[in-house]
């Protein structure tokens, strides 16, 4: 690394960069920050104009959404975790071998890959009624596996494109070497490609989890009580009798924490794999 001399100008520039960072971070995260703050306010403090920064914080809103209220936020959060995990794993199991075949044997690359990429461009609402009827017919309505399947549909395009992009980066010689050692296709996939693909798998995992977690519309339409995800559950506090802002803010805070923690740690992998996958895929 080259050490640059610190002239007054470069020092000023550096300070400006820091100022810019703080400003940008503040603006981008303002809604999240305000929501977290609101979640500790009483209704009286919320209904004050202009809004107050200083107030006696209360845990009442959390108490309400978690324990005393009429909605079961804890189980909504558990539902969301199960749905996102299920949808993520299924999408990976389905797309990883497919990506391998597409790259190495060029099967389906010309028709299946574009078709699947296209799924991402569609407003999925149009499938609401057929899927509703189908789920009802096979008994998947209002179940966690049902919503995991939906999450899987959402994840497949991204997972596939990223896997294809990454596997293309792996030199084919690695396969050939394993082939000479007598490994079959599955063997190569399992023993050669999979270990190499760890970073991308991690990225897909996180990205898929976040996408699944944040899905709203199907979560709303396909569930009634057993499989309600937290994104939908948090809006239960927006009622015809007014928005209970305090409770809503508390529920939203709880609903956004898991994906945010994941994102906080996993973003470098996401960036790298997105870049690689998108460029090569």
């Amino acid at each position: 690394m080259i050490v640059t001399r610190r002239t007054p100008l470069s020092r000023l520039l550096h300070a400006l960069r820091w100022a810019a960072f703080i400003l940008i971070a503040f603006i981008l995260n303002l809604p999240i920050l305000a929501t977290i703050i609101t979640s500790f306010k009483t209704a009286g403090d919320i209904n004050t104009s202009p809004p107050v920064w200083l107030f006696a914080p209360t845990l009442g809103n959390y108490e309400e959404v978690l324990f005393t209220g009429n909605t079961d936020l804890v189980s909504y959060i558990i539902n969301s975790i199960l749905i996102a995990a299920g949808g993520t794993l299924l999408a990976m199991v389905l797309t990883f071998p497919a990506a391998y075949a597409m790259v190495r044997y060029e099967v389906g690359k010309t028709w299946l890959l574009p078709l699947i990429t296209n799924v991402r461009a569609l407003p999925l609402i149009i499938y609401a009624i057929p899927i509703y009827l189908m789920f009802q017919f096979v008994g998947l309505l209002d179940t966690i596996p049902g919503l995991a399947l939906i999450a899987c549909i959402i994840n497949i395009p991204v997972a596939l494109v990223l896997f294809v992009g990454f596997i293309q980066e792996i030199p084919e010689e690695m396969d050939s070497a394993a082939k000479i050692d007598g490994a079959g296709k599955w063997g190569i996939l399992w023993h050669v490609i999979l270990p190499l693909a760890r970073p991308i798998i991690f990225a897909v995992l996180v990205l898929s989890f976040v996408y699944s977690w944040n899905e709203f519309l199907f979560g709303l339409i396909l569930t009634t009580k057993n499989a309600v995800p937290v994104t939908v559950g948090a809006t239960f506090f927006v009622t015809s009798y007014g928005v209970k802002w305090g409770a809503t803010a508390a529920a939203m805070t709880l609903g956004i924490v898991p994906p945010m923690i994941l994102g906080l740690f996993a973003y470098p992998y996401i960036g790298k794999s997105m870049l690689a996958g998108a460029l090569k895929g």
């Binding site: 690394m1 797309t95 389906g108 009624i129 956004i256």
Partner: protein, 295 residues
């Protein structure tokens, strides 16, 4: 390529199709059936009282869909929205890369803080903005009014800019992350080489880094365009598509046709046309890409 080799390759390819089975079966079940059902719906008199859609009505649903000026307005909104958001996200993301790259390279964990918005569900993001943009209880108008700026960001004069701003604020981090990663990938060697050649920071950015980031810009723009085009959640939460239809995106339009107006056939006809159009576009884009890249 020799014939024999090609033959071996053919059998290998046939065998490799096994790897696709799981994915294909899943897609056939989860998307194939609904797509067929939708196709039938778009040609039938389906209604909420007759979900089987027992009568064939030809292209009536399509004629009605195309003849509705609101559909074209919604399509126009989505296109314009997607273009503006994409340009802003890429532009702002790029600016952020050049401004923040030096400090983030030394303290990478700071990047995570900027990534938080894209982890939040857009539906909840809409609710959050409903909270903070309210003239009476929101914190944003309270400070804007102190600075003498317009405060009714959800008012009819600013609503269009506001829904765009919300989309941009949530997704600029995504554009930023991808482009930052691309920028950082050129950091090490190239930067040293450039420094040896005497290139200053700014010059380096212009001459060397930008061309390297360019492919990532195209990718980011593509992904963001697609995602912004089908925008639904935060606008629906904030404005319900109004005032009037001013913020009705094509997704909101289809949703309302479907649920509020119960015109299932027409709603599905719109989406079938959308499906065909996007397939055609994607196909054209791929052909273009293939032609440009020597095989």
């Amino acid at each position: 390529m020799a014939h024999r080799e090609a033959g071996v390759r053919e059998t290998e390819r046939a065998n490799a199709r096994v790897f696709l089975i799981g994915l294909c079966v899943f897609l056939a079940l989860m998307l194939g059936f609904p797509t067929l059902a939708n196709l039938w719906y778009s040609f039938s008199n389906v209604s909420i009282y007759d979900l089987a859609g027992t009568a064939f009505v030809g292209f009536a649903n399509y004629v009605q869909a195309v003849g509705n000026p609101n559909m074209w307005a919604a399509l126009g909104f989505s296109l314009k929205f997607a273009v503006i958001c994409t340009v802003l996200e890429v532009g702002l993301g790029l600016a952020m890369v050049f401004i923040l790259h030096p400090i983030l390279t030394k303290r990478p964990w700071l990047t995570g803080i900027l990534m938080l918005p894209m982890m939040v569900s857009p539906a909840l993001m809409g609710v959050m903005y409903r909270l903070i943009l309210n003239e009476f209880t929101g914190i944003v108008p309270a400070y804007l009014s102190m600075m003498g700026l317009p405060i009714n960001l959800l008012g009819r004069n600013w609503i269009y800019e506001t829904v765009i701003a919300i989309e941009v604020l949530q997704w600029t981090p995504f554009a930023f992350l991808i482009m930052l990663t691309a920028r950082q990938s050129v950091a090490g060697e190239l930067e040293e080489a450039a420094a040896v050649d005497g290139a200053t920071g700014a010059k380096f950015g212009r001459l060397i880094a930008l061309p390297v980031i360019l492919p990532s810009i195209i990718i980011v723009a593509f992904i963001r365009f697609i995602d912004s085009f089908r925008v639904f959640d935060h606008i629906f939460v904030l404005t319900g598509g109004g005032p009037g239809n001013e913020t009705t995106s094509i997704s909101i339009y289809i949703y309302k046709l479907f649920f509020t107006q119960s015109k299932i056939g027409e709603a599905v006809a719109v989406s079938v046309m959308l499906l065909i159009a996007s397939l055609a576009l994607l196909y054209a884009a791929l052909r273009l890409a293939v032609r440009r890249a020597p095989a």
